[in-house]
């Protein structure tokens, strides 16, 4: 699939014999435009609905973006290795319900040991994430199952487990010891989720730019043969990418659970596709090896501002689906046109 995605365009080139000049112009325009795209979008909405640019709404946008960013960062790690993770959304749901159930069980009727419950819930959430990562990593690296098929399967598995654990009902009664540090706390006047997102962003940047493991993810994506020839532990690195990604997903799931103040079996919903869309709009390549912190940030803000702006402009939900779909295709088309000679 990923291979064909790479070859198809060149075959189409041969067939259509398109000129390079146009591509170069688009490329230049897109390189300059891409980073400012979310800002242009916000200003555009601001012209029609001034409320979009109010301080209150900007803080709101940043907070919304911080949740999506953590998950897009997780998706980006896997995309770099020429993989993708369709199980991200349902695993968010499963982790949310799983950790909430553990917390309510420990808490008991008199709600005495909230701190223990919160710690245990967090630990269980991370452990569930680790399990998903191990499943995906082992299937992709050692069983050689295509990442699309692997995560399609684990998506179904997580969906099944997430909805069976609590029979599809939300789990209420999560202790404040979990909700406050996870979501409600403000540090230096900023919602704590923004701090978490900044922490994840720094960690992602250090991992991808300054560690051998992180750099190797790029090579696994852009030239898997090179990794084999160089004698790297290709499989262990590939599995590690899925495990790190799933752990990051668990962090996102924990923050989202604290925000909802309950374990939600539908929390993940469309997040798999949303994170892929965000990453790709930001410039991550589906054929691996391209992208990083900046692409995750740009893509996340683009998607968040688009949906926030459409909400404030009272555009109906069905129209929003239509617009979102069309824009994803358009953004990627522009990006690919721009990259022909890059």
């Amino acid at each position: 699939m990923s291979q064909a995605a790479e070859i198809q365009p060149s075959a189409a080139d041969l067939a259509t014999g398109r000129s390079d000049a146009l591509a170069r112009i688009v490329s230049l325009a897109y390189r300059v435009l891409l980073p400012s795209l979310p800002i242009i979008l916000a200003l555009g909405f601001g012209l029609y609905v001034p409320r979009v640019l109010s301080l209150e709404n900007i803080v709101n946008i940043i907070q919304q973006a911080s949740f999506l960013f953590v998950l897009t960062a997780a998706q980006t790690i896997v995309l770099l290795t020429r993989g993708l993770d369709l199980s991200l959304g349902p695993s968010v749901s499963m982790i949310s319900v799983g950790s909430a159930l553990v917390m309510t069980a420990i808490l008991g009727p008199n709600a005495a040991n909230g701190i223990v419950a919160a710690l245990a819930g967090t630990a269980v959430g991370l452990a569930l994430g680790l399990l998903v990562g191990l499943f995906n990593g082992i299937a992709v690296a050692w069983l050689r199952v295509n990442p699309f098929v692997t995560t399609l399967a684990s998506m179904n598995i997580c969906l099944g487990i997430g909805t069976s654990l609590s029979d599809g009902h939300p789990v209420f009664g999560i202790p404040d010891e979990f909700n406050v540090p996870g979501y409600r706390l403000h540090v230096l006047g900023m919602p704590v989720s923004i701090i978490y997102a900044i922490g994840v962003g720094v960690a992602l940047h250090v991992l991808l730019q300054h560690t051998v493991v992180g750099r190797s993810f790029y090579v696994l994506g852009s030239n898997p043969r090179a990794a084999v020839v160089a004698g790297w532990p290709r499989r262990r690195l590939l599995a590690l990418a899925y495990i790190l990604s799933a752990l990051l997903t668990a962090v996102g799931a924990i923050i989202l659970t604290a925000r909802a103040a309950s374990g939600e079996p539908n929390l993940g919903g469309g997040l798999s596709l949303q994170t892929i869309a965000a990453a790709v709009i930001g410039g991550v390549s589906l054929s691996g090896g391209r992208g990083g912190l900046s692409s995750a940030v740009i893509g996340t803000f683009f998607i968040t501002i688009l949906s926030n702006g459409m909400n404030l402009a009272s555009i109906g939900g069905y129209t929003q689906m239509l617009v979102m779909g069309a824009i994803v295709i358009l953004a990627v088309a522009l990006d690919r046109m721009g990259r022909v000679n890059a």
């Binding site: 699939m1 291979q3 365009p9 189409a12 069983l143 098929v149 069976s164 892929i276």
Partner: protein
């Protein structure tokens, strides 16, 4: 590469090569059928067998389209919503033609079928043109189409089922028995057979394999790659629309969520379990039809054993990974890209 394959015990490799997916599916199918004699005799009731046959028909048609797109190295996430669009449009056109325009039910049915197939072709054309001319990976194009088409379908209906389909279309076709078998089964057999013939006997089929196997070589040897890629996406969307029409004729109303994500996922699972390669160039209609039968039988058996639809998802996921893992381990050395 030789270093990697040498690490693997030879026995596992030989065993999995022997069992390869092609041999495994009929075996598992027989196991389910035998197992059900012990656990749930109701499995053998005629209504249940017809039920399996109907679901197999719906799935096999859609999965054949999915397979064609996979052979050219693509992926179609929009098949489920395309089926839903076809369902809603067919119901709307049929209802309007009979109730408002007062046309003969027969004419209304033909009109409804044609318009809904046309809508499917339009979706396929859009997918094909975007993935070839705009050079967007088909995964992303069809992800976008998934969102766009479900937006359109919901706008048309607000999520409410569309009634007013002529009875002839429901009782005379969707729920009818022809020569003792459900009518959709004949449609499915005909379409899967047609795809099989196309793959085996026609130049078109050869071109589709060639493009998937090596697009550059195909282009250099003078095949109009763009045109055939677009055509493949149109085929896939048309087959998805037929599935939508068949389900509509059985349910008796136009449904915005008839296939939903479930049907899309099952179509990919059926294609992949049937041995279709996600890297393109490999895939056979008859194997995909067989794996559609396998998946429908499996889900039916799980239902009868009162394993609820949530736990069923877990089983389906494990089956898909196991089937594909055995397949790719069996192919051994070739599998490292």
């Amino acid at each position: 590469m030789s270093v990697i394959s040498a690490q693997r015990p030879a026995i596992i490799e030989r065993l999995s090569a022997r069992l390869g997916v092609v041999g495994l599916i009929p075996l598992l199918l027989v196991l389910i059928v035998i197992g059900m004699t012990i656990f749930e005799p109701r499995f053998y009731g005629l209504p249940n067998l017809f039920n399996i046959l109907r679901n197999t028909s719906f799935l096999a048609i859609m999965a054949c389209g999915q397979m064609l797109v996979m052979i050219v190295g693509g992926m179609d996430l929009s098949v489920g919503v395309t089926a839903a669009l076809a369902s809603v449009i067919a119901a709307k056109v049929m209802a309007t033609a009979t109730e408002t325009l007062g046309l003969d039910p027969g004419v209304a049915m033909v009109l409804g079928i044609l318009v809904s197939l046309g809508s499917g072709a339009a979706v396929g054309l859009f997918n094909g043109l975007c993935s070839t001319l705009l050079r967007v990976p088909s995964l992303i194009v069809t992800l976008g189409t998934l969102s766009v088409v479900s937006g359109i379908t919901l706008m048309m209906t607000s999520g409410i089922p569309v009634y007013g389909i002529p009875q002839d279309f429901i009782t005379g076709f969707g729920r009818a028995l022809w020569w003792g078998l459900p009518a959709p089964a004949y449609v499915a057999a005909g379409l899967v057979g047609a795809v099989w013939l196309m793959q085996r006997k026609t130049v078109l089929g050869t071109y589709i394999y060639a493009i998937g196997g090596n697009p550059l070589a195909a282009a250099v040897s003078g095949i109009s790659v763009t045109a055939y890629l677009v055509l493949t996406f149109v085929f896939c969307a048309l087959l998805a629309s037929v599935t939508g029409l068949l389900i509509t004729s059985q349910m008796g109303s136009g449904q915005t969520n008839l296939g939903g994500d479930r049907l899309m996922l099952l179509s990919i699972a059926a294609a992949v379990i049937g041995g279709t390669s996600l890297r393109g160039g490999i895939g056979r209609a008859e194997m995909v039809g067989l794996s559609a039968l396998f998946l429908s039988t499996l889900t039916n058996a799980l239902n009868l054993l009162r394993i609820n639809s949530k736990k069923e998802l877990v089983v389906l996921g494990l089956v898909v990974v196991a089937a594909v893992a055995i397949d790719s381990l069996g192919r051994g050395k070739a599998a490292v890209e």
